[in-house]
């Protein structure tokens, strides 16, 4: 379990993290969302035991990061921002080093190293200095050292940054596979990632925790939630047909691709009404979609809102 209590970090006069409290239980994959400079990385650095909090506390599996730092660090696998590693070492030597620092010896060390090499597909680069590897491989080496000791807690700062779409998919699969019995905290500014791996999302801006909910709950806050979008050959006729539906509050047409979005009145379901109206009028549509809500819009609304309390 990770538990933070009013975690705060000041840099001089600047407050990077301002009283953040949350709990994460095993099985949860918590996504840290927020604009650049919001305090995501600083929070993670404090949980990982790199930075000391100015105020407040954090506990990892019951160990306080300030009073029992070594025990706390043993529970954590940490991927720092940018996935740093010792460039002159080969991935094999680097993993050997981390394994030794983690107290893995003998057969367990060989087994774990072979396991992470396989999971992150590092076989082909094991003997090359890390400096000479591509960004994707460097990131995977960083991930490999984080999961090497099979920790109960993983703290991953932008684990998929710099990976190509295939590699991103692989890393997300890896995270999903590990998520069952672990506590995983990842930071990202890629919103699709929240859907792909997280079952809980926390939005941070200006050092404050502004929302804490499941991705689906966040989508409900979008004005697109339960809206219906469609693309019709005859946009004018479609709009005309929709405007007669009582439960529709407003209709917007995208000036770029003429895609029509109809927003329901509060709490109303309009999908069936829309599809029946179109059928009745014989209006051909090339696609028709019920929107779940748009995370990017929710994200913008929450993070750009003037500094008012919007706690979930």
């Amino acid at each position: 379990m990770i538990e933070t209590n009013q975690l705060t970090k000041h840099y001089g006069d600047f407050t990077a993290v301002d009283g953040i409290s949350f709990r994460v239980e095993p099985g949860q994959v918590l996504g840290f969302l927020g604009p650049n400079g919001a305090g995501k990385s600083t929070t993670m650095k404090m949980i990982a035991g790199f930075l000391a909090p100015t105020a407040g506390s954090a506990k990892v599996c019951g160990f306080d990061i300030e009073t029992q730092p070594i025990e706390a660090k043993r529970q954590i696998g940490y991927l720092p921002e940018g996935a740093p590693s010792y460039g002159e070492m080969t991935p094999r030597a680097f993993l050997e080093f981390v394994a030794e620092m983690r107290g893995l010896g003998g057969g367990a060390r060989t087994r774990r190293i072979d396991d992470v090499i396989g999971r992150l597909q590092l076989e082909s680069v094991l003997a090359q200095p890390i400096d000479t590897l591509s960004k994707g491989f460097k990131r995977r080496v960083g991930l490999a050292q984080a999961i090497l000791h099979d920790p109960p807690v993983l703290v991953l700062d932008e684990p998929t940054d710099g990976l190509d779409p295939n590699q991103k998919h692989e890393v997300r699969t890896l995270i999903n596979a590990m998520s069952r019995d672990k506590i995983i905290v990842i930071s990202t500014h890629i919103l699709e990632e929240v859907h792909a791996v997280c079952n809980r999302a926390v939005i941070i801006a200006r050092g404050r925790l502004l929302a804490d909910a499941t991705p689906a709950e966040l989508e409900v806050r979008s004005r697109y939630h339960m809206a219906v979008s469609l693309t019709a050959e005859n946009a004018g006729a479609a709009r005309e047909a929709l405007s007669r539906i009582a439960d529709i509050d407003s209709i917007e047409i995208d000036p770029q691709d003429k895609r029509i979005t109809a927003f329901p009145k509060k709490g109303r379901m309009i999908f069936n009404a829309v599809s029946e109206a179109l059928k009745a009028q014989n209006i051909a549509v090339s696609e028709l979609q019920l929107e779940a809500g748009r995370l990017d819009e929710v994200f913008r609304n929450i993070t750009l809102a003037p500094a008012r309390e919007t706690r979930a």
Partner: protein, 254 residues
Amino acid sequence: MNATTTTPMPANPVLTIFRRELASYFATPVAYVFIVIFLLLSGAFTFYLGNFYERGQADLQPFFTFHPWLYLFLVPAVAMRLWAEERKSGTIELLLTLPVTMNQAVLGKFLAAWAFIGIALALTFPIWITVNYLGDPDNGVIFAGYVGSLLMAGAFLAIGSCLSAATRNQVIAFILTVVVCFLFLLAGYPLVLDFFRAFAPQGVVDAVAGLSFLTHFGAISKGVIDLRDLIYFALTIGVWLYANAVVIDLKKAD
């Protein structure tokens, strides 16, 4: 396997860091360049400036005399990367989030750098063979000279390690270290003492004079291994390494 259920007995982290660091010197040309230059310069100083042959004495006094000046530039070159590079590449975050205390990390890195300089120093053994071939030197004095030289290198290195933690720029770390080491070298000489005499009471001036590397090294290299000189270097190393840990703690957030 789960880390909570099978709390593994960690190997000594100081030793692990020590081994990694020492290996990293030899993974790049840096080590070889350093060793070659150290050997070339120490030889050139001994024979040309120290008049090794002309003196007609079977000892290594001309060899050791120039070590402080050699170290003044070469040790900061080794020390400058110690923490500045960790900070610049971000590996400091990786290192300090492993289950290791700050003191262990500082000590492991310091000892590796010290051992590296020790290797370079040990490779000067041909000059010891030469002097034994040519004459009949007091090998006890020579041994003391090597001990003193290594201790002084350690003191330079501890200063450099601390200052390297204060910046992520290796050039700045190098220059700062050279300046501070220079002041410590000459602490017993008018250049430094006159500055303190201008405002400090005599007690302070005497204390500063007692900090001189040259005085302490000179005593040891003449074969007089005085406990006070050993303690002096050990304390100097200890104090600077302690400061090193404090500086890392203060600056790691930047």
